[in-house]
């Protein structure tokens, strides 16, 4: 009896988690006629019309490319900085460590609205609105706490003796970091990279404000603004959404263990 209840719960959980996504995927494979049929049709024609139309009329590939660049660059820069700062905070003697970590953490909790306006003004005076660096820089700021936090927690778990033996071998600080600590913490860094990438890929608020030129917009902005003056193209919206989501779904399936580990790291000690 207990087992049946359990398995029923499992099935419910999986079903509800995936249903909306599967429904959208289903919708994207329909034809124009099927989409506007009332009541809705459950089994699609498996047509690729909407994908084609999204690419031809709605710049889907441009959005995809921009998302890749912005998320990729943000991840690279954030991770580089996180490695440095994470190592320092985890392994070196730093004054006010608590304050720094706490300060970083509060940054991730700032409401977007509170920093969006001034950030916009800063970028405007630098002439960096509608440029990649204009979006990457705020993204790095927003994801640094996450990155530092995760990398630091992975560094912390490495045995203390490593640095001591490195020192005995005559390594300076830099060499210790790059030759010894980094390779060992690689899994943690990879985890952080995944989480940062997903965050940057999904971000909407800043992307909406900073990128107003279609040529530079990322997928979330494109998808949110898909509706035109006189058209609400559900077919194209669902096709674009699927394209925006499939890479993430793959990532989740491949790297779920790391993701779970990374997300719960630091939530509770241990």
């Amino acid at each position: 009896m207990k087992k049946t209840v359990f398995f029923l719960t499992v099935i419910c959980v999986v079903f509800f988690s995936l249903l909306p996504f599967l429904w959208f995927l289903d919708t994207s494979l329909k034809t124009e006629m099927e989409i506007t049929s009332i009541p809705p049709v459950l089994v699609p024609d498996f047509a690729l019309d909407f994908y084609r139309s999204s690419i031809e009329h709605y710049n889907l590939l441009h959005y995809l490319w921009n998302s890749i660049i912005v998320a990729g660059l943000s991840t690279f820069i954030t991770l580089s900085l996180s490695i440095f700062a994470g190592y320092a905070l985890a392994r070196l003697r730093v004054k006010y460590k608590g304050l720094i970590m706490g300060g970083l953490l509060t940054v991730s909790m700032f409401p977007q609205i509170s920093i969006a306006g001034p950030v916009w003004r800063i970028l405007q005076s630098a002439g960096w609105l509608n440029t990649y660096q204009g979006l990457v820089l705020p993204y790095v700021t927003l994801t640094l706490p996450l990155g530092v936090w995760i990398v630091a927690s992975f560094f912390r778990e490495l045995p203390k003796e490593l640095e001591d033996s490195a020192k005995i071998d005559g390594c300076g600080h830099v060499q210790t970091l790059f030759r010894i600590m980094l390779p060992l913490a690689a899994p943690g860094i990879f985890t952080a990279a995944i989480l940062v990438f997903i965050y940057a890929w999904n971000e909407f608020f800043f992307a909406l404000l900073i990128m107003t030129r279609q040529g530079y917009q990322t997928l979330p902005v494109g998808i949110a603004l898909f509706q035109g003056e006189y058209s609400l193209p559900w077919g194209e919206i669902s096709a674009a959404s699927t394209v925006a989501t499939i890479p993430l779904v793959f990532m989740v399936f491949l790297f779920q263990k790391r993701i779970v580990r990374g997300l719960s790291a630091g939530a509770i000690k241990g």
Binding site: N59, Q124, Q133, V174, G228
Partner: protein, 435 residues
């Protein structure tokens, strides 16, 4: 020897290395070429791009020293507004000529973004254009844009159904509601489900357009054009809102219209599920297109109804051409604007892409009427189309109006006087800010 490890240069180098590639990657846009004079035209994505290609080519042929570089912005008016205003706030040099929605000229004029056209567009020339459109482009006594196409609310109806039940197009809202109710009941008896009316009542700009038509046709007003203060508390204004709340929403129109913008409301009509429909003129072509509409050929168009003692008024929509105050090619820009708004080119646009022109004379032109038979009856509608309140603070005012209307009509038990009073207070406060 003491070994010092100074990682700082190392870190700085790494950081620099990160940034360099960024500057070399450019977005997915074509870079403009450097030719004689390049006029940069910011526009939205047209429904018939071939027509625009033709027009631009025509201009470049006749003006070999000027090249037009088009930048296409997003479809939606709000998103286009954000793109454009961002450039203008930036005093960007890459915009010379741009489109303005009918509600923007005051905002752009007050902010100093649009150049006053002054003697380039003298009063004698202006009289050739529709009065409402010219009014919308005027701020503080000066003119800031040239209207290119005009839009106004019209009533669509099912000719077959009206004929079947022996009705002629309703002149008053009351009549429309009665006709709709009869038809719906009659069709229900025959087993066909249909709604009486479909319009745009979601909490967005279009709601203001729809509601203004009811209010004005009841001799009410939203804003006093002289003082700029709110007239929402007038009996006539409240009466019109009450009518919409009690007789339209959830009555002849399904409650779903509270979530509809133009596309959804039009969908209901072209699927044959509504007797009457309020929309802009663009819907004519769509409703009569057999590839998209189930009611092609059975569609009629007429002026919007009014209340007893009032007159039919439709909300003015449409697009105007403006020149950026920061443009470095103002002369060439004006050449282009003059060209686009000329009788010849407006005729091409009207005939080939069905957009209603702003020059009065074209409504008597045989070819224009032939391509757009519905324009014949619409000349008066366009001539009397009324602009929304012209103020640099219109976005704020509009938000207050949207909020008020949405609250008033979506809640059957709403206290209209109280809501109108609260909204009036806020509007007056905003207006006072600008004085």
């Amino acid at each position: 020897m003491v070994r010092r490890s100074f990682p700082s240069p190392f870190i700085i180098l790494t950081l620099l290395a990160c940034f360099i590639p960024v500057f070399f990657i450019s977005g997915c846009e074509k870079k403009p070429e450097e030719t004689v004079t390049t006029v940069r035209f910011v526009t939205w994505k047209p429904n018939q791009p071939e027509v625009w290609d033709e027009i631009v080519a025509l201009f470049e042929n006749e003006n070999p020293d000027v090249k037009i570089e088009r930048e296409t912005g997003p479809h939606s008016s709000t998103a286009f507004h954000d793109l454009l205003t961002q450039k203008l706030k930036n005093r960007s040099r890459d915009v010379d000529v741009f489109f303005m929605d009918v509600i923007w000229p005051s905002e752009f004029a007050a902010a100093g973004w649009a150049m006053p056209l002054g003697e380039l567009f003298p009063v004698s020339e202006r009289s050739a254009f529709l009065d409402g459109a010219i009014l919308a482009n005027t701020y503080d006594g000066k003119i800031y844009g040239v209207p290119l196409f005009v839009d106004s609310g019209v009533l669509y109806y099912r000719t077959d159904l009206l004929k079947k039940y022996g009705f002629s197009p309703p002149e008053t809202w009351e009549r429309m509601v009665d006709q709709a109710a009869s038809i719906v009941a009659g069709e229900k008896k025959e087993g066909t489900g249909i709604y009486g009316f479909s319009g745009q009542f979601k909490q967005y700009e279009g709601l203001v357009c729809n509601m203004m038509e009811y209010i004005l046709s009841n001799n009410g007003r939203m804003i006093d054009p002289v003082t700029g203060k709110s007239d929402l508390m007038e009996k006539a204004s409240i009466g019109a809102v009450r009518f919409v709340r009690d007789r339209i929403i959830g009555n002849v129109a399904p409650r779903g219209v509270l979530t509809y913008q133009e596309p959804e409301s039009l969908d209901v009509f072209i699927q044959g599920k509504a007797v009457f429909h309020r929309n802009w003129p663009y819907a004519w072509e769509v409703s009569n297109n057999p590839g998209r509409s189930a009611v092609a050929g059975k569609v009629g168009i007429s002026r919007l109804p009014h209340f007893p003692g009032g007159e039919s008024h439709s909300t003015l929509g449409g697009w105007q051409l403006g020149i950026s105050s920061y443009s470095e090619n103002k002369e060439a820009a004006w050449k282009f604007v003059k060209f686009l708004s000329s009788e010849r080119v407006q005729k091409i646009i009207a005939v080939k892409s069905g957009k209603a022109p702003t020059r009065k004379i074209l409504y008597g032109d045989r070819e224009v009427i032939q391509a757009n038979p519905h324009f014949a009856g619409m000349r008066d509608v366009f001539a009397t189309a009324y602009p929304r309140p012209r103020s640099p603070l219109y976005p704020a005012i509009s938000n207050i109006l949207q909020r008020y209307f949405s609250k008033a009509i979506s809640d059957p038990g709403s206290d209209l006087e109280k809501e109108a009073e609260a909204a009036s207070e806020e509007i007056n406060r905003i207006v006072a800010l600008g004085r």
